[in-house]
Amino acid sequence: MATQPLDRELKKGSAELLILSLVESRARHGYEISKLIEDRSQGTLSFRVASLYPLLYRLEARGWIQGRWVEKAGQRRRRFYKLTREGRTVLAAQRRGWQQFAEAIRRITGIEYA
């Protein structure tokens, strides 16, 4: 289990980016976000309630996403989160940063291989 701390750090660093990306195109509720992360990462990444929601609330408190209760006919009410204008700026910056980081890693790890 030696990889676990690294795992956690990576997840923590990337989690914000993941969530902001997922609500970029449209508003989503918490379960949907966790499902999408799990599905799209094919099970590599998964967020449980205990870590997902505090993160959502924190992003909301910072004003990057905004949650709103939505009631649809025949369904229980859910809280949908959408990206705010400020969140959009943050997302763009984080994307750039992450791409540079990933590029740097690739270069380093690629050279080692060569």
């Binding site: 509720h29 918490g30 379960y31 966790s34 499902k35 449980r48 309630v49 205990a50 870590s51 929601y53 505090p54 609330y57 924190r58 408190a61 910072r62 004003g63 229980r76 009410r77 859910r78 809280r79």
Partner: protein, 895 residues
């Protein structure tokens, strides 16, 4: 389906979220678990497997709680420690929402709190409006605090204010170094005639610079010129704003118009702005034009008004004027030896008498509000006990103590705002009522009781203070609820802690004490009022009506003309059916003062500057004494014959005069004369009658020595006609008006009033504050009674089970009654004792209003103590009887 919410709530313990936020989170997480559960089920998992897996989501829920707790403190980018505005207000809004819900669920309690607070606030709002109007609202002049009343004082003449003399006017004005300006005026009134109808209009003769000193400019036209302000100057007039609106409908062409004032022509040169409210009531200003020659001085009669230089104090200015005043003595103006300048802030000169009374009323009404707050605090404490369970639950699910206090304070604030609003509305109503009771003539017209920012601030302040007073202690105490204890208790009737019971007792004691202090004060004031009412006025006011007549000098130039006019008028009036007697005098009782200096033949002659109290001098017709209803102690009125000029000169004096000059010996046949002041004394006049003092200055005022002289000897041009009727004297006015018009259509009848009205009006202030104070005391007593009743009822409710058991074991109802009553009356007695000490100390403030009633009057103290004790007993008795009628079986089954 598993109870997700319940499970999540348990896991969230320790996150210390506020209620509304917590509910949202629970909702959201439950939805998540539910979605997960459904997904697992539809992928084929069994119910228990799906449930197990869904719950795994909550694993490491300490982490969740921990994370959520961190969230309570917002992260960057907001500055640390300051909640964002939105969060703060949404928190407050949800507090208010919750508060409204709580208030709504207990309508009786809430109405009681709002009602009691409204009662307290209403009184304060009304009294404060009056205090504000009288003393706080600035006068409508720029830098009004620099305006100061100028007058002279002569203690040796028993006169606090003598008025300013003509020579002083000029020399003060020229030689002072502390005033930017000084103006003087003499209140007077004019017959303003206009095509056959005449009216009496109040006016003032003013120095040319009065407008400048006040700091206002004419609305139309121009001010007086210095050269118009001289003896025998041009006849010019400034019209008051209201008169201009009333008579000329605001016509701007009024400039240059010629008016008939006292049968003389005056040219209108300007119109005063509405804010020229001083001199009070003056609607017409004419130049004063006094002679500066000391030889032509006509005594002390002018009112003065100065505008102090910036930064100069009244004391400094007074010392400066005294310097000028004394310097005049050195240059030979001996009159100034006895008088000296006296300076009073303008407002105090006219309203000073009301200052203490309004402070006392404010104090009294503040006590009522205090009692209301104490009552509400007691109610809240009791309710806090009942709410212990609710609070315990909220503490158990993570609400902090601060959070609970905040919620309780919000509730109090909402109640306070409601009570305050109702109170202010009620207060405005009271104010309207109180103002309608004030006789219009007794307060300067520039007083305005309308609402202003100061009033609003006061209402907000007292309501806020009240909310804190009645809310904080119970809130803090309530938040100390021991969660486990309260939850384990049977619940509904969570009992009060020992500390809280102690607080309740202290509240009851303080209510009784405060109510007693107010009641003693009210008792003394009402007693003093009764005493004043029973003062013998020295005349018989029933069925008497009076009115004023003023003959213009131009038309009635000769003495004989004036005397003849009055005699003819009185003769015609005497013949009116229903008239019993008729007379005339320059000043009826409560009708003003005209002073002069007299000396008696067998006493040493008095010089100008000897100590000599001023004497009230009344010029009257022989029939006056009979018409006004005065009593002769010796001698007789002067006769018609004696009243004729060139006859031997006679006079009537009053008791005080006889006491002063002859030590109370009979004055009949003795001789008196004017001291003459700076001029020669008059001839000796024989005293033919001695009357009982009429209370000329008011029932509670001291009488001055008085001399009555027959009209022809001093043929004045103004008289107050006195008609005594056999029935309602108002009926005599229409025929009298007819007669007057017949004699001279240009002469108006003014100040038509019955003597009973005058007497009533003279007492209005005392009547008003005495009864107001009594009303405060009654309110206080009722509030205190309600408070005791509430607390004792509550205590009995708490002890239902215990009393039931004791009665089941054989205790008699009488025993229970005595015991409950006894413990309640102990509190009442302590309250009475504390209140007595407080009353002894507090009523000293009332001393000057008590008119001879001792502030330690044992009868009043005893009556008030008994009365308050009786109210306390009654308030205790009702719940005590309920305790005694407890049915043991039902009480025991109550659980």
């Amino acid at each position: 389906m598993p109870e997700w919410k319940q499970i999540i709530r348990e896991r969230l313990q320790g996150s210390k979220l506020d209620g509304a936020r917590e509910a949202e989170i629970v909702d959201e997480l439950a939805q998540h678990l539910e979605d997960r559960y459904d997904a697992l089920r539809s992928s084929g998992a069994s119910e228990s497997e799906a449930r197990r897996q869904a719950l795994e989501e909550l694993n490491s829920s300490e982490l969740l709680a921990e994370e959520l707790r961190k969230l309570r403190r917002p992260d960057a980018p907001e500055p640390i420690g300051v909640p964002s505005k939105g969060a703060y207000f949404s928190g407050f809004a949800s507090d208010v929402k919750l508060a409204l819900r709580n208030i709504w669920t207990k309508p009786a309690f809430s109405l009681m709190v709002i009602g009691m607070l409204a009662l307290g606030v209403a009184g304060n709002a009304a009294i404060f409006s009056i205090f504000n109007g009288l003393f706080l609202r600035p006068l409508p002049f720029p830098e009004a605090e620099r305006l100061i009343d100028l007058d002279e004082t002569a203690p040796k003449w028993n006169l606090h204010y003598t008025g300013v003399s003509n020579p002083d006017l000029y020399l003060w004005r020229e030689h002072n170094s502390t005033f930017d300006g000084m103006a003087f005026f003499d209140n007077s009134s004019f017959n303003l005639s206009d095509h056959g109808t005449a009216q009496r209009v109040a006016g003032a003769a003013v120095t040319y610079d009065l407008l400048k000193v006040l700091g206002v400019k004419p609305l139309l036209g121009r001010n007086f010129l210095p050269e118009e302000d001289r003896p025998k100057g041009p006849h010019v007039v400034l019209l008051g704003y209201n008169l201009w609106q009333r008579m000329f409908r605001g016509d701007r062409d009024v400039l240059g118009l010629v008016l008939k004032l006292d049968n003389e022509s005056y040219t209108v040169i300007g119109v005063l702005p509405p804010e020229a409210v001083f001199p009070d009531r003056a609607e017409i200003w004419v130049p004063l034009g006094v002679d500066r020659d000391p030889a032509k001085s006509t005594g002390w009669y002018l009112n003065g008004l100065g505008r102090l230089k910036r930064g100069v104090s009244a004391e400094h200015a007074e010392a400066d004027l005294l310097r000028v005043h004394k310097a005049m003595i050195k240059s030979g103006w001996k009159d100034n030896e006895i008088t000296s300048p006296i300076l009073t802030p303008l407002r105090d000169r006219y309203l000073g008498d009301f200052r203490m009374v309004s402070r006392i009323l404010l104090g009294g009404v503040a006590v009522v509000l205090l009692i209301a707050c104490v009552n509400i605090a007691a109610l809240m404490l009791v309710r806090g006990g009942a709410r212990a369970r609710e609070i315990a639950i909220r503490t158990a699910i993570g609400a902090s103590r601060g959070r609970v206090v905040r919620q309780l304070l919000t509730e109090n604030l909402v109640l306070a705002v409601a009570g305050g609003a109702v109170g202010v509305l009620l207060g405005k109503l009271c104010l309207v009522g109180m103002i309608s009771l004030m006789p219009a003539d007794n307060l300067p017209r520039w007083i305005d009781f309308a609402m202003d920012a100061r009033f609003a601030a006061f209402c907000v302040a007292i309501t806020g203070t009240a909310a804190l007073l009645f809310g904080l202690a119970p809130a803090v105490q309530s938040s100390k609820v021991d969660a486990r204890g309260a939850l384990q208790d049977s619940g509904v009737r969570a009992s009060l802690s020992r500390a809280r019971r102690g607080t309740l007792r202290a509240l009851v004691v303080s209510e009784i004490a405060l109510a007693l202090v107010l009641s003693v004060g009210a008792g003394l004031l009402v007693e003093a009022f009764q005493k004043v009412l029973h003062v013998d006025p020295g005349f018989r006011p029933e069925n008497v009506i009076t009115f004023g007549i003023n003959l213009p000098d131009v038309k009635y130039k000769e003495d004989v003309q004036r005397v003849a006019f009055f005699e003819k008028l009185l003769d015609r009036l005497r013949a009116v059916p229903g008239v019993k007697s008729v007379g005339a005098a320059t000043a009826t009782p409560l009708g003003g003062h005209w002073g002069n200096f007299w000396e008696a033949e067998d006493n040493p002659p008095l010089s100008m500057n000897d100590k000599n109290p001023v004497t009230l001098q009344v010029v009257a017709t022989p029939g006056y004494f009979e018409a006004i209803g005065m009593t002769f102690l010796a001698g007789r009125p002067f006769t018609e014959e004696e009243a004729q000029p060139k006859h031997i000169r006679t006079a009537v004096v009053n008791e005080t005069f006889a006491k002063h000059y002859w030590n109370g010996a009979s004055p009949i046949g003795k001789r008196i004369r004017h001291t003459g002041g700076t001029r020669k004394p008059t001839d000796w006049i024989e005293v033919v009658g001695l009357t009982r003092d009429e209370k000329h200055y008011g029932l509670e005022q001291e009488m001055k020595p008085g001399v009555f002289l027959p009209l022809p000897q001093i043929p004045v041009n103004w008289m107050n006609i006195v008609l005594r009727g056999s029935l309602d004297p108002q009926m005599l006015i229409p025929p009298a008006r007819e007669i007057l018009r017949d004699l001279d259509a240009d002469i108006p009848m003014y100040e038509v009033r019955t003597m009973t009205e005058r007497l009533d009006d003279s007492l209005w202030a005392r009547r008003a504050y005495s009864w107001l104070f009594a009303a405060f005391a009654v309110t206080a007593l009722l509030l205190a009674a309600a408070g005791i009743y509430g607390v004792v009822s509550y205590a009995v409710g708490q002890r239902t089970q215990e009393i039931g058991i004791r009665m089941a074991l054989g205790a008699q109802p009488g025993q229970v009654l005595r015991e409950v009553l006894g413990s309640g009356m102990v509190l009442v007695s302590i309250g009475l004792a504390v209140g007595l000490v407080g009353a002894f100390w507090a009523v000293r403030l009332l001393q000057s209003l008590l008119f001879g009633v001792s502030s330690r009057d044992p009868v009043i103290y005893a009556a008030v103590v008994l009365g308050v004790a009786a109210v306390g007993l009654l308030a205790n008795f009702v719940p005590a009887r309920r305790a005694a009628s407890i049915d043991p079986m039902r009480a025991l089954h109550f659980e």
